[in-house]
Amino acid sequence: MKRFDLQRIGLGLAAPLLALIVALLLSSLALMISGNSPIETFESMLDYGIDPDTMVQTVNRSVTYFLSALAVAIGFRMNLFNIGVDGQYRMAAFFAAVVGGWLVLPGPVLMVVVVLVAVAVGALWAGIAAILKATRGVSEVISTIMLNVIGAGIVAYLLDPSRLGTLIGSQQVSTEPMPESAHLPGIPFANGEVFGFILIAFACGLGYWILLGRTRFGFDLRATGLSETAAVASGVDVKKMVVRTMLLSGGVAGLVGMPLLLGESHAYASDFPAGYGFSGIAIALLGRNHPVGIAIGALLWSFLEQSSQILDLEGVPKEIVTIMQGVTVLSVVIAYELVRRFSLAQQQRRVGAELRAAAPVPAGVPGGPADRSTTGTGSDPDPAPGAGRHASGATATGGPANGRHAADPDNPSRDGGEDPA
């Protein structure tokens, strides 16, 4: 079995590396077409990207992306497409900010309350889509996309000086800022500080891994994702699972705005960033729904974005990074699918080969009473012709084939022949 494992790890690494190389080549092509030197461009991106200030920005942004991708991945594992992370985290961050600015509590307690409110609002907003799917069969793709728009509208409506917002400066509308005691301290990194929420994000990743791999709930969730029919037959209540998984996904989505809210902005202003939910989808794909993969994907994604800030100064259109991101996701998805098929086929072949080597059983397995003249149409009550005619009736065509067959060890895979998939 060790060989399988080694190979699996090897293949697991081969896929993203291959994909990255392809992505680099294609991006270079795009750069060349637009009349820029790929090498110079990458060089300046790298130079700027490893600048300590940029690195802090990169890590900070990747914390947000990590949470967003984790929320998406929870759904993905069950074949649920939560496209609504965007709306969920904005609703969550907004109401959490409102509560944070309004409640008077000791700082740490207030932070906990704010986070809990965010989780609850995110879950609730996702829960609408879950209920619609479980009771009415509404596709979660459609409903979550629509809820994104509705959520954005609600936030815009409420974020008004006459309602839950206050005017800051001359134009900027924001929620009431949270007290200083509820500012989450940062963690020193490079020559700055990164969001303290990175620890929570790390815990979420660990929790995700444990929940999916080690718990009954996780097993049910994955089983439903692998084969809904088999999960149902095994006793999984799929409707309940849909609701629970969406709530969980929405809850994690609620955390997406927290690093920024607690660590930097301390209020939800009209310029609170949008769109992290969609990056999360791409990063979840990039990381193959695995927490480590997602972490790497989030860092890469964020690195590309941050390091591209320099490109405008170099006269290279910054949008080249969008191309790079898109190409990366595409090639990763394709590479993984190829590797997945290859390793499945490889495994089947190896199982077949090992069994052939291990079991030199004579071909004629005795003892199956099986006249397959079944499912009778009952068409013929005629008595059978004389038994003596059997031998003459059968004209063996496959002499050599027969002989070979007898020599062939009992290939246990052969009855899978009609359906090798």
């Binding site: 009473p369 006249d371 009736g393």
Partner: protein, 563 residues
């Protein structure tokens, strides 16, 4: 390999060979689907290819129809070597395929379906008049009775099949491949189909008929090629072979008669089904007032042509399908309010009819498949946690005790052969200490060795007091394993048989309604006398050869069951 040319029948020389397959070999990962296959099909004949499920028939036909490329071997059509890289090539060479599952658009008319993809006319105009004329021409020439302007959704299964055949003929096919064409048909429709095939044959069309139903093959084919384990083992003349001999060729080796055993039936009732009715979405009753009881140590077999409510019965008991009325009791506990998981916990084991759909997570390793369906029970879980080592150890045990051939428990379930997958499922379902086992086609698509092992496992469990509801299309399996057999027809239990005395022929006719006075089927039986006999002597040991019990719509079967 010239011996593959029609050796036996003396009529052979007068016919040209329409299709000649030589040395066809096709390998899939871990599997040799076909090896060294030789078949010669004469023009204007019905040539049957028979073999067990999984013997490699479908792969062979896919090769002939251009859906798969052979690794070795040659295909000649009308004497010329061909190499198809897609079905379009095969169609151009005059080969058409009628799939087991129809490929028709319900919301279009017959005409629209037939011309779809081969529309007559030009410049974006659809020449329906020409199309209608041709369809009617073809329909009349071959006696298909297809009406071009009917909506496909209004057609029955037999009509749809004729539309499929016409569709293929419309594209100019002279060689038809019919893949298990009778699987979806009721007996009267089967007879109609065979009538159509004779007409087609008379018009010079060559037919390749894929099946594993021997009686049908014997009644319709001019020549029969038997495939076993992916290779051709014999080509025989139906006039000179019996069903039993064919079956022996198919499975290889002599067929033992099912043994007679003493009953292990105990007094304690395990499953009671009372007046169970299940409705299809359109309100039709697919299960109509079914009542049955199974006692501890009893195997109740359900005999029936597929699609007569067997699946619905199993799924209703499992809680996978809503019940319109009636009760299901396990012991004296009403299951109505219990979900599938609680029913499993209450002691119901489930061997689903489609193991890939309902029984396995194909991409998950074996030990995770061990957990499936037993997510709440030891040794798989400890509280809310998955007990990995417990599940793994128990998977090792199942692999050992049920002889699952695998190099380890970390391989994906999809890497195993069908028989080994099934043994894993049976081992799993038995290890939950079930009191009731719902076994739907437990040996379908399973090799003969695994089949015997699965039967042994079922017998052992029965001796230990397990109650078993056995659904099977294999009448010998039903007769060999069951203590009682109920016959299901159109969602109702219509008769009961004693497996010690009933013959497959009796059961067969009861399943088709012949025993309950359905006119057309009985008529077809008489017609069947013209073709060679199909019934093997002594299949059940005690048997009559079925001569008296079937014909003329007698109601002999239930009486036989009472002894």
């Amino acid at each position: 390999m010239t011996s593959a040319a029609p050796a036996g029948p003396p009529a052979a020389p007068t016919h040209d060979v329409a299709v000649q397959l030589r040395g066809i070999t096709k390998r899939f990962p871990g599997v040799v689907a076909n090896s060294d296959v030789h078949i010669a099909v004469r023009t204007g004949t019905v040539h049957a290819v028979v073999g067990e499920n999984g013997a490699g028939k479908s792969t062979l036909m896919k090769i002939l129809y251009g859906m798969q490329k052979p690794d070795e071997g040659t295909v000649d059509v009308a004497g010329k070597p061909v190499s198809f890289s897609s079905p379009a090539d095969a169609i151009a060479a005059g080969i058409g395929m009628v799939h087991q599952h129809f490929m028709l658009a319900d919301n279009l008319t017959v005409l629209e379906n037939v011309v779809l993809g081969a529309e007559p006319g030009g410049f974006g105009r659809l020449d329906t008049r020409a199309a209608r004329r041709r369809i009617i021409e073809i329909s009349e020439a071959y006696g298909l009775g297809v009406r071009p302007d009917r909506m496909v959704e209004d057609l029955g299964v037999g009509d749809r099949q004729r539309v499929e055949i016409l569709k293929v003929l419309y594209r100019g096919a002279r060689i038809l491949i019919l893949d298990e064409p009778t699987a979806v048909l009721v007996p009267q429709e089967v007879d109609e189909l065979f009538g159509n095939l004779r007409e087609l044959k008379a018009e010079g069309i060559t037919i390749l008929f894929i099946s594993h139903k021997l009686d049908e093959v014997l009644s319709v084919a001019d020549e029969i090629t038997v495939i076993r384990r992916g290779t051709t083992v014999a080509t025989v003349d139906p006039a000179e072979v019996t069903a039993r001999r064919l079956a022996e060729l198919m499975v290889g080796g002599e067929l033992p008669s099912p043994e007679t055993r003493e009953s292990t039936v105990r007094d304690q009732v395990v499953l009671t089904v009372e007046g169970l009715t299940v409705l299809a979405p359109d309100g039709r009753a697919v299960l109509d007032d079914v009542s049955l009881t199974i006692r501890a140590g009893e195997v109740l077999g359900i005999a029936g042509v597929e699609g007569n409510g067997q699946s619905e019965l199993v799924e209703a008991i499992m809680g996978l399908r809503p019940v319109a009325s009636g009760r299901v009791l396990l012991g004296d506990r009403d299951l109505a309010r219990l979900g599938t998981r609680h029913r499993r916990e209450a002691g119901i084991g489930f061997i689903p009819e489609d193991r890939h759909r309902q029984g396995l997570l194909l991409e998950a390793p074996l030990w995770e498949n061990r957990i499936l369906g037993h997510q709440t029970r030891k040794p798989n879980v400890a509280g809310p946690w998955i007990d990995r080592s417990g599940a793994r150890e128990d998977t090792e045990r199942i692999v050992r005790e049920y002889d699952v051939r695998t190099p380890g428990i970390d391989v994906a379930a999809s890497a195993l052969s069908g028989g080994n997958q099934q043994k894993l499922i049976i081992g799993r379902e038995m290890s939950g200490d079930p009191v009731l086992l719902l076994a739907a086609h437990p040996t379908r698509g399973v090799d003969v060795g695994a089949q015997a092992q699965i039967w042994d496992a079922l017998r052992a469990a029965r001796a230990d007091g397990l109650a078993v509801l056995l659904i099977s299309a294999d009448l010998d399996e039903l007769i060999g394993l069951s203590d009682t057999i109920d016959v299901i027809l159109r969602g109702r239990l219509v008769g009961r048989a004693d497996p010690r005395t009933v013959t497959p022929e009796d059961l067969g006719s009861a399943m088709t309604g012949a025993g309950t006075g359905a006119g057309p089927a009985a008529g077809a039986d008489d017609e069947g006398d013209a073709v060679p006999g199909t019934t093997g002597p002594g299949l059940t040991g005690t048997g009559t050869t079925g001569t008296g019990s079937v014909s003329g719509g007698s109601t002999g079967l239930p009486a036989k069951g009472e002894q």
